[in-house]
C-alpha cells in the first residue's frame, strides 16, 4: 500500500450530521493545531438546513503556509453513515479513514488502498454516559482525543483550549478532558501511533489571529462609527450584522445610562433594509447593511437612487452561489457584474474586494470614508468562504489618531457664509459637490432629494443640457474615485515575463500557491491582486505590460474579465479566464491545471 509521509502537511476532513454538536469539537481540533504554531485553514461545508443533513469540516495543515483549499483527502473522519460511500471514495490512496466500529463496516466499504481506523465510539459512549445528548456530544470529543494521539496534538494545548471554552461553566471541563482521554486510551491500546502524517510544533503563526470575515466586517463597522444598521437575514451574510450587534453592545452601550449609541433594525425585506440605510446616511449617520446575491438584486432600485441622488451608502455583499436561490451555503464570486452596475440607467458603483478577515475590517472602515467622500454607494464584496470560515490573518490594527472622513458637508456655520447653496453645484473640479444635513440652518441649505433629474440646485428638471451636465459630472466623480480607492497589489516575478495572473478576493490563497507551483515548473507569472473597482490606472498598465493575462475567478461567466474588458477596453483575446464555480473554494491545483493546459495549446 502507498504510504504518505508528511509532517504538518495534510488535509483532514470530518463528515458529520448537522445539529449533532460536531462544530465545536472540530473547531477545537483546528484551534489546537493553530496553537501549536502551525498554519491551518478550516472550512465548513454545510447544507442549507438546520438538522439532519450531511455537513463537512475540512482542515488543511500547511507548513509552507498555504491557506487555500487543497484537493485530496489524507484523513477522513467519518461520523455520518449517510455520506459514507462518497466519503470513502474521496480519500487519497494511502490515506486514512476513521470510523465508528461499533457496527462492522460492510464489505462494500472496504478499499484495499487506504488505512482503516475503527473506534467503537458509540459503544464507548454507551458504556461511559447515560444521558443520550451527552452520548452524542462526547462522541465528538472522543474522536478529537483519538486524533490527538494519532497525529500528535499536544495534550496540554487541548486542555487549555477546553478551559477557555468553558470559562464560567468550569464543571464541564473535567468530563470533556475525560472524553479526550477515552479516545487517546483507545488508540494507545489498539493502534500504532503516531501515524506517518502528523504534527510537530512550529513557530510559523506569528502574531496572526484566527477569525472569520463576517465578524471582521461587523467589528470594522463598529470602528468605522456606523450607528445605524438595517438588515434582512440571509445566508451567508447574517453573521455580519450579528457580529456588529455583539460588538456594539460591548463597546457602544453607555455604562451609566445603559442607552445605546447605535440602532439596529431587522427590516421586513432587503428593499427596506437598504432604504433605511439610505435614509440614515442622508440624515448624517453612518449606516450600512449586509446581504447576499438575492438581496443585491432586490436592492438594485435603491442603489440607483443613492447613486443618482448622491447619498453615501455602505453595503456588504457576502456572495454565495447563484443564480436565483442557487446554493445558499456554497461559495462563489458571482455578483461582480450585478453589483458593479446595479440598477437601471447609467449607474456604476464602487466595489472593494477584501481577501482576508484583516482586509474585511480595513475595507469596511474604508468603505464608510469612501462612501462619504464620494457620496455614493460602496459595496464590500466578500464571499461565503471568507465570511463564514475562520482564516489565519494578520491582527486587526487601529491608529488612534485616525479620524473619519465625513466628506464635503456644510454645517450651520459654513452655511452662514454662503450666499446661495447648490446641492449639485460643482465647486472644486472633482465632480464631488457639497451636501447638508437636514435641520442644519433655518433658511439655507434645504433642498429636495430626488431620484428624478435635477439641476445644480436640486430642482426638478427635464432640460437636456442640465441633465447631461449632471450625469457627466457623475462620471468626473467616477474618475476621482479611481485615484482614491485602494490600489491593486502587484508582484513582479524574478524574471521578466510575458504573462500575468490577475485575481481578487478569496482567490488570493490558491492563486499565490499556484504561482509558486508554476514557478517550480519554470512558468513564471507576474501577479496583480485587484482591491477595488473602478480600476486604478495601474490595472490597465499591468494588462498592457503583458501579452497574456490569466484572470482567476470563482464564477462561470468570467465576470471580472468582462468588467475589465468593458471598462478598460482591453483586447478580449489576451484575457484568459481561469474559473472555478462548483461552489467550493478554488484550489491551486485547478488554477495550475487550467494555466498549463493553456500553455500547451498556445
Amino acid at each position: 500500500m502507498q504510504q504518505s509521509s508528511s509532517v504538518n502537511d495534510f488535509v483532514i476532513r470530518f463528515a458529520n450530521v448537522n445539529g449533532t454538536g460536531s462544530a465545536s469539537a472540530n473547531a477545537l481540533f483546528a484551534k489546537a493545531i493553530f496553537r501549536m504554531g502551525i498554519p491551518v485553514t478550516p472550512k465548513n461545508i454545510f447544507p442549507s438546513n438546520i438538522q439532519g443533513l450531511p455537513t463537512w469540516y475540512e482542515v488543511r495543515v500547511s507548513e509552507k503556509g498555504y491557506l487555500g483549499r487543497r484537493e485530496g483527502i489524507d484523513f477522513m473522519v467519518c461520523m455520518n453513515p449517510q455520506s459514507m460511500p462518497k466519503d470513502i471514495a474521496s480519500v487519497k490512496p494511502g490515506g486514512y479513514f476513521l470510523y465508528d466500529s461499533t457496527k462492522t463496516l460492510h464489505r462494500e466499504f472496504i478499499r484495499e488502498d487506504i488505512h482503516y481506523i475503527g473506534i467503537p465510539l458509540m459503544a464507548i459512549c454507551l458504556r461511559e454516559y447515560t444521558d443520550p445528548r451527552q452520548r452524542q456530544l462526547f462522541k465528538n470529543i472522543i474522536y478529537v482525543g483519538a486524533l490527538s494521539a494519532l497525529l500528535e496534538i499536544e495534550f496540554p494545548v487541548l486542555e487549555t483550549l477546553l478551559a477557555e471554552m468553558f470559562q464560567g461553566k468550569e464543571k464541564l471541563i473535567a468530563p470533556n478532558v475525560k472524553a479526550l482521554q477515552l479516545g487517546i486510551q483507545y488508540i494507545h491500546e489498539n493502534f500504532e501511533y503516531p501515524l506517518d502524517i502528523r504534527l510537530e510544533r512550529r513557530d510559523l503563526v506569528g502574531d496572526r489571529i484566527l477569525v472569520d470575515g463576517n465578524s471582521a466586517c461587523g467589528l470594522g463597522a463598529v470602528y468605522a462609527g456606523a450607528t445605524v444598521a438595517a438588515w434582512y437575514p440571509i445566508t451567508p451574510s447574517t453573521s455580519v450584522v450579528e457580529a456588529f450587534m455583539e460588538y456594539a453592545e460591548q463597546f457602544r452601550t453607555d455604562p451609566e445610562t445603559g442607552k445605546k449609541n447605535f440602532a439596529i433594525v431587522q427590516a421586513e425585506d432587503e428593499l427596506a433594509a437598504i432604504g433605511m440605510v439610505i435614509g440614515a446616511n442622508w440624515n448624517g449617520a453612518r449606516s450600512f447593511t449586509a446581504t447576499s446575491g438575492p438581496g443585491v438584486s432586490l436592492m438594485a432600485e435603491f442603489l440607483g437612487l443613492a447613486y443618482f441622488a448622491e447619498i453615501p451608502t455602505v453595503l456588504i455583499d457576502v456572495q454565495r452561489a447563484g443564480p436565483s436561490t442557487g446554493m445558499p451555503t456554497r461559495t462563489q464570486q458571482a455578483d461582480i457584474i450585478a453589483a458593479a452596475y446595479a440598477s437601471h440607467g447609467d449607474t456604476k458603483h464602487v466595489l472593494l474586494f477584501p481577501s482576508t478577515p484583516k482586509e474585511c475590517f480595513d475595507d469596511v472602515v474604508t468603505a464608510f470614508d469612501l462612501a462619504e467622500r464620494l457620496q455614493t454607494p460602496v459595496i464590500v464584496m466578500t464571499d461565503l468562504d471568507l465570511g463564514m470560515n475562520d482564516h489565519l490573518t494578520a491582527p486587526f490594527e487601529w491608529d488612534d489618531s485616525r479620524t473619519y472622513d465625513r466628506g464635503k458637508v456644510l454645517h450651520t456655520a459654513d452655511l452662514e457664509n454662503i450666499t446661495k447653496f447648490g446641492r449639485y453645484l460643482e465647486v472644486d473640479g472633482d465632480g464631488i459637490t457639497y451636501r447638508t444635513y437636514p435641520g442644519s440652518h433655518p433658511s439655507k441649505g434645504a433642498y429636495v432629494t430626488r431620484g428624478t433629474s435635477h439641476d445644480e440646485y436640486a430642482g426638478y428638471t427635464e432640460d437636456s443640457g442640465t441633465y447631461t451636465r449632471n450625469v457627466d459630472r457623475l462620471l468626473k466623480k467616477w474618475e476621482t474615485a479611481k485615484s482614491i480607492v485602494p490600489a491593486p497589489e502587484v508582484r513582479q516575478a524574478a524574471t521578466a515575463n510575458e504573462c500575468g495572473i490577475l485575481f481578487f478576493g478569496t482567490s488570493i490563497y490558491s492563486s499565490e500557491e499556484a504561482v509558486d507551483l508554476l514557478a517550480a515548473q519554470d512558468i513564471h507569472l507576474d501577479s496583480l491582486r485587484l482591491r477595488s473597482f473602478p480600476f486604478s490606472e495601474s490595472v490597465g498598465q499591468f494588462i498592457a505590460d503583458h501579452e497574456l493575462i490569466f484572470v482567476i475567478e470563482q464564477n462561470r461567466d468570467a465576470q471580472m474579465r468582462s468588467l475589465l474588458i468593458n471598462e478598460l477596453g482591453v483586447a478580449p483575446q489576451k484575457m484568459i479566464p481561469v474559473l472555478n464555480y462548483d461552489g467550493t473554494p478554488i484550489t491551486a491545483d485547478t488554477i495550475v491545471k487550467q494555466i498549463i493546459k493553456n500553455f500547451a495549446t498556445v
Binding site: 445605524v228 449609541n261 428593499l271 435614509g279 448624517g284 437612487l305 431620484g451 430642482g459
Partner: protein, 350 residues
C-alpha cells in the same frame, strides 16, 4: 420643473410665536392640476405647521413616487425633502428617524404608493411606531399614469373611462387600526376646518400618526359614479366628531356644550378636544373605533375625524433604547473603541 414662488413680503403679515409668517411655511408653486385635492392638503399642512410654530427647517419631508409624493416640494421650502422611490418612503423615513430623533418627520404618500407597491413598508412602519406623521392623499386612482384604479378604489366605483372597478377596496384607516397604529384619522381635502386640527394633533402625537385624506383627482376620478369625487364624498361624509386642537397651555376660549365633549391630553400638555361625539364610539378604545369604522362603511358612509389614539405605545427609539442624543451627532470618541480594545480582541482570537 421646479417653479419657485416670488419672494414678496408684506411687512404687515401676522407672525406666529417664533416670528414666522405663514408664507415662511410655503413651498414652490404646485405643478399639479388646478383644483387637485392634494394642493388643499399642502395648504392645510402649511397652516398647521404655522399655527403650531414649528421651525420649518426642523421638519424632514418624506415621500415616495406619484402625484401625492411630489407635494413636499409645494410646502415648507426651508425643510429638507426626500422624494424617494415608489412605495419605499417608510424605510427611508425609518433610517432618517433612527439617525436623528429630534426632527419632525412628515411623510406624504398616495394610495398607489401605500396600498399597492408600498404596502409591505407601510405595514412595518406602523409596527415599529416611528414618531412620524404619515398622510395618504387618497384619490382612488393612479394620476400620473392617467387614471388607472388603485387598491383603494371602491368596488363598483366608475372611472372616467366608464370602467367599473370589480375589486374590493383596501381601507387604509381600518388596516392601520388593525395593525396597532397609535393614531388613526381620516379626513377630506375639502374640509380644512377638520383637517388642520387633525394635522396639528398628528404632529403633536409622539408615535406613528396616520391620516387617510380623501383627496379627489379632478382630472381622472371626479366623474359621476366615482366614490372619490368631490360630490360623492361631500354627500357621504360622516364625522366622528368635530376636532379641535388646543396647543400647550393655550387659554381655552371657546365654550362647548357640557356633556358633548371629550378631551384628550397629549404628552406635551396640549389637548385634542372632540365634540358631538358619536354616542357609541370611544377614540381610546380600539374595538369601539373598529366598530365605528365598520358601521359607517356598512351604511355607505365615509367616517372622518380622529378615529383612534393611544399615546402610551413606545416609539422605535424607546424600544431600541437608543441614546437621547441624535445618533448623527456622535463623534469618534464615543463611536470608536480604539486600539487598546482591539489589542484585547486580537489576543482573544489567538
Amino acid at each position: 420643473m421646479t417653479y419657485t414662488r416670488p419672494r414678496f413680503r408684506n411687512p404687515h403679515l401676522p407672525v406666529n410665536k417664533i416670528g414666522y409668517t405663514q408664507k415662511d411655511y410655503e413651498g414652490a408653486l404646485s405643478t399639479l392640476c388646478a383644483g387637485c385635492g392634494h394642493d388643499s392638503i399642502s395648504g392645510a399642512i402649511v397652516q398647521a405647521c404655522y399655527e403650531l410654530s414649528i421651525e420649518p427647517h426642523r421638519v424632514a419631508k418624506m415621500s415616495g413616487i406619484g402625484c401625492s409624493s411630489k407635494t413636499p416640494a409645494y410646502f415648507l421650502s426651508n425643510s429638507h425633502g426626500f422624494n424617494s422611490v415608489h412605495g419605499r418612503m417608510p424605510s427611508v423615513a425609518t433610517g432618517a428617524y433612527l439617525a436623528n430623533r429630534d426632527l419632525v418627520y412628515f411623510g406624504v404618500s398616495g394610495d398607489g404608493d401605500t396600498a399597492s407597491i408600498g404596502m409591505g413598508q407601510f405595514v412595518h412602519a406602523i409596527r415599529r411606531n416611528l414618531n412620524m406623521v404619515y398622510v395618504v392623499m387618497n384619490n382612488g386612482c393612479y394620476g400620473l399614469t392617467k387614471g388607472q384604479d388603485s387598491a383603494t378604489a371602491d368596488a363598483g366605483s366608475k372611472s372616467k373611462s366608464g370602467h367599473t372597478n370589480p375589486f374590493q377596496a383596501i381601507d387604509l384607516a381600518g388596516l392601520a387600526l388593525e395593525l396597532g397604529a397609535s393614531f388613526v384619522a381620516r379626513s377630506f381635502s375639502g374640509d380644512k376646518t377638520q383637517l388642520v386640527p387633525l394635522l396639528k394633533a398628528a404632529l403633536a402625537h409622539p408615535g406613528f400618526a396616520f391620516i387617510d385624506v380623501i383627496s379627489p383627482c379632478v382630472t381622472f376620478n371626479n366623474n359621476p359614479g366615482s366614490t372619490k369625487s368631490y360630490d360623492y364624498v361631500r354627500e357621504h361624509i360622516e364625522a366622528t366628531a368635530t376636532v379641535d386642537f388646543v396647543p400647550i397651555k393655550s387659554e381655552i376660549t371657546t365654550q362647548y356644550e357640557a356633556g358633548s365633549t371629550k378631551e384628550i391630553a397629549l404628552h406635551d400638555d396640549s389637548l385634542i378636544r372632540l365634540h358631538k361625539i358619536a354616542s357609541d364610539w370611544d377614540p381610546q378604545d380600539r374595538h369601539s373605533a373598529m366598530n365605528a369604522l365598520h358601521h359607517a362603511r356598512s351604511k355607505g358612509e365615509i367616517l372622518t375625524g380622529l378615529i383612534y389614539i393611544d399615546e402610551s405605545l413606545q416609539n422605535l427609539h424607546e424600544v431600541l433604547n437608543t441614546t437621547t442624543e441624535p445618533l448623527n451627532t456622535l463623534e469618534e470618541k464615543v463611536l470608536c473603541p480604539g486600539s487598546k480594545a482591539l489589542a484585547t480582541l486580537n489576543a482573544g482570537l489567538r
